[in-house]
C-alpha cells in the first residue's frame, strides 16, 4: 500500500480521519491530518514529543473534538454518534491510567462491560464470559482477585488492556501502552497486541516511543511531526535513516537483521562513539 492510498483513498476503512485539525483550547496541534486505519492490522503512530500522535489518537477515539474535519467510524461522524454505541466498536486505553486504590483486577476489567449493559445495569452470563476471556487473553487471570495497585507495572498494564478487551470492540486504540516498562515486558506486551491483530483480526492503533519496537511489530508505521503526517506505510518502505532524520532530527543507521528480518535503529551518538574509539585505541 502506498502513502497516497493511506492518506486519502481506501474509503472502505472502518476508521478514518478526514482533514482533521485539533488542539487544546487556543493551542492548535494537528493541522489537516487524514488517515485511513487499515482494518485487521497493527498501526503504530510514532513521532517526536509534541508531534501530535497522542492528540490524533484522542481525536480518533472521540475524546477530543476536532476544530475542523471529522473522524468517521463506519462512514458516520464519530463525534456526532452516540458515545455508548461508539464504545461497542472502539476501545481506548489512555496514557498512564491510574487505578482507584484497592480496586481488584476483576472489578477493573468488569468496567469494560459498561457499553454492553442496559439502564438497569444487568450483569449477564455474556458479561461474565467476556470478562473471563479478557482476563485469560491478557494473562491476568491468576491474580484476578488482587488489587490492581498492588501489581507490578507490566501486570498493571495487562489489566488495563484486559479491561479494553472486555469491551469486545473490533477496533482498539492504545496510547503508549509500553512506556515505563522494562524491555522484556514491552516485548511480551507487543507480542500480545500483534496477536490480537493477526490472529484475532482486530484493528489496533498504538502510539509507541520505541522506534525499533514500533518498526518490528507494526504493519503500518505512521510518522508525525509538527501536527502533520510526514509519511505512512509498511516499515520496509518508510523506516529509513532519511525519514528518521526528517521526522526526529535523529542521526541514525537503520539496518535489517539478516537472520531475523527485524529492523535495528542505531542512533549515531557522537559522544559515545568517541569514547568507544579512544578505548579501542
Amino acid at each position: 500500500m502506498t502513502e497516497g492510498q493511506l492518506a486519502a483513498g481506501r474509503t472502505n476503512a472502518r476508521l478514518r480521519a478526514a482533514s482533521v485539525s485539533a488542539g487544546y483550547g487556543a493551542t492548535p496541534i494537528l493541522s489537516d491530518v487524514s488517515l485511513s486505519v487499515p482494518d485487521g492490522q497493527l498501526t503504530a503512530l510514532i513521532g517526536p514529543n509534541g508531534s501530535g500522535k497522542s492528540t490524533l489518537l484522542k481525536t480518533m477515539a472521540r475524546i477530543l473534538a476536532p476544530e475542523r474535519g471529522s473522524v468517521l467510524l463506519d462512514g458516520k461522524a464519530i463525534h456526532q454518534s452516540s458515545t455508548k454505541d461508539v464504545a461497542r466498536s472502539l476501545g481506548l486505553l489512555p496514557q498512564g491510567p491510574v487505578p482507584p486504590e484497592g480496586l481488584t483486577v476483576r472489578e477493573l476489567v468488569a468496567q469494560g462491560r459498561f457499553p454492553h449493559q442496559g439502564l438497569l445495569q444487568q450483569w449477564t452470563a455474556e458479561d461474565a464470559a467476556a470478562v473471563g476471556q479478557a482476563l485469560a487473553t491478557a494473562g491476568v487471570a491468576d491474580f484476578a482477585d488482587r488489587a490492581v495497585d498492588s501489581l507490578s507495572g507490566g501486570q498493571r498494564q495487562r489489566c488495563w488492556i484486559a479491561m479494553v478487551l472486555a469491551q469486545q470492540t473490533p477496533i482498539l486504540l492504545l496510547d503508549e501502552p509500553t512506556t515505563f516498562l522494562d524491555l522484556k515486558v514491552q516485548v511480551d506486551l507487543m507480542e500480545m497486541l500483534a496477536d490480537l491483530a493477526h490472529t484475532g483480526g482486530r484493528t489496533l492503533v498504538v502510539v509507541l516511543h520505541d522506534l525499533s519496537l514500533a518498526a518490528s511489530y507494526a504493519d503500518t508505521l505512521v510518522m508525525l511531526r509538527d501536527g502533520r503526517i510526514v509519511c505512512a506505510g509498511a516499515p520496509h518502505e518508510v523506516f529509513t535513516a532519511d525519514r528518521l532524520k526528517a521526522v526526529f532530527d535523529l542521526e541514525a543507521r537503520v539496518s535489517w537483521d539478516a537472520e531475523t528480518g527485524l529492523p535495528v535503529c542505531l542512533p549515531l551518538a557522537p559522544q559515545a562513539q568517541r569514547r568507544r574509539r579512544t578505548r579501542a585505541a
Binding site: K84, A87, L92, P97, P100, E101, G102, T104, F114
Partner: protein
Amino acid sequence: MTQAAGLLARRSGSLMALLLMALAGAICLLFALHIAVGAKPLPLGTVIEALLARDPKAFDHSIIWDLRLPRALIAITVGAALAVSGALMQGVTRNPLADPGLLGLMAGASFAVVMTSLVFGPAMTNWAPWIAALGAFVTALAVYAVAHWTPGGPTPLTLTLTGAVISAFLAALVSIVHLLNEDSFDNLRVWLSGSLSGRSLETLGVTAPPIIVALLLGLALAPRVTALAMGDDVAKGLGIKTGQLKLQLLVVVVVLTSSAVALAGPLGFVGLVIPHVARLLVGSDYRWIVPFSALIGAAFLLGTDTLARIAIPPREISTGIITAMVGAPVFIQLVRMRAR
C-alpha cells in the same frame, strides 16, 4: 492506607446480598432498641407490638408513635443520606477527604439559620429546617456559579477550592455573629453541632421523598462512579458522558445534603467516614460502596443517637458530638484491622 482490597478479598454477588441483608437485620434491631431506651425504658416486646398494631389508648404506644418513632426514622434517613452523599462526593472529586459539606453546604446551612435568628429572633427556630435547606442549596448554587467563572470552568478541583473558600468565609461570619451576640445563640448551639432532637414527623414527611428519589438515583449511577474514578479519558472511552454524569452526581449530593441538614443540622463525620468504613468492608467498586454506605450510615446514626439519648440522663448529648466521639475510635480500629 494499605493496598489490600477490602476485608472481603473475593466478592461474589450472593455474598454481598447476604451481607446487605445482615446489615438490614442489624438496622431493624437497632431501630427497636433506639425506640425502647429513653427516659421511660420500654420492653422490646411492647415496642414491636406498638409498631405492628397501635393501640390508641395505650400511653406507651403514644410515646412510641409520637415521640420516638419519628426520631428513629430521622436517624435512618439522615444516616443513609449523608453517607451516600459523602461516598458520591469522594467518587466524583477523586478525593478521599471529600465530604457532603465540600460545596459549602453545611456552612451555608449554618449561616442561613444563624443570620435569620439574628434578624428575626428565636421565633425562627421552628423554621430552622427549611432555612437550613435553603441556605445549603443557595450556597451550592453560589459555589457552582463562582467555579463557572474561573478559567477552567466548574471542574472538581475548582468546585472543591471554591467550596472550601466560601465555607471558610461563611464560618467566619457565623463566628463574628457569635462573638457579638452570645446570649441569643444558646438555643442554636445544639442545632449547630448536629442534633436529631425536636424534629417532627412533618419535617420528615417533606424531606423524605426527595431523599428517597436522590438515593435511588445515586444507587443507579453508582457503577458509573467506579468508571469515573479510573479517570475521565477511561470513562469517556467506555461511552460515559463524564460532564453530564458529574452534574447529575452533584445534584444528587446537593439534594441529599440539603435534606439531611434540614433534619439534623450541620452533622459532620458521618459523610466523611462511613464511605471509608464501607470501602474497608467491600473494596473500591462504587456498585457496592454506595448501597453499603447507605445501610452502614443508617445503622451508625441509629446507634450513636441511642447513645446520645441515654449517655448522661436526664439530659442528652448532641448527636453530632457522639458521632465523632464514638466514631473516631471505631474507625481507627477498622483501619488497624485492614492494615494487618
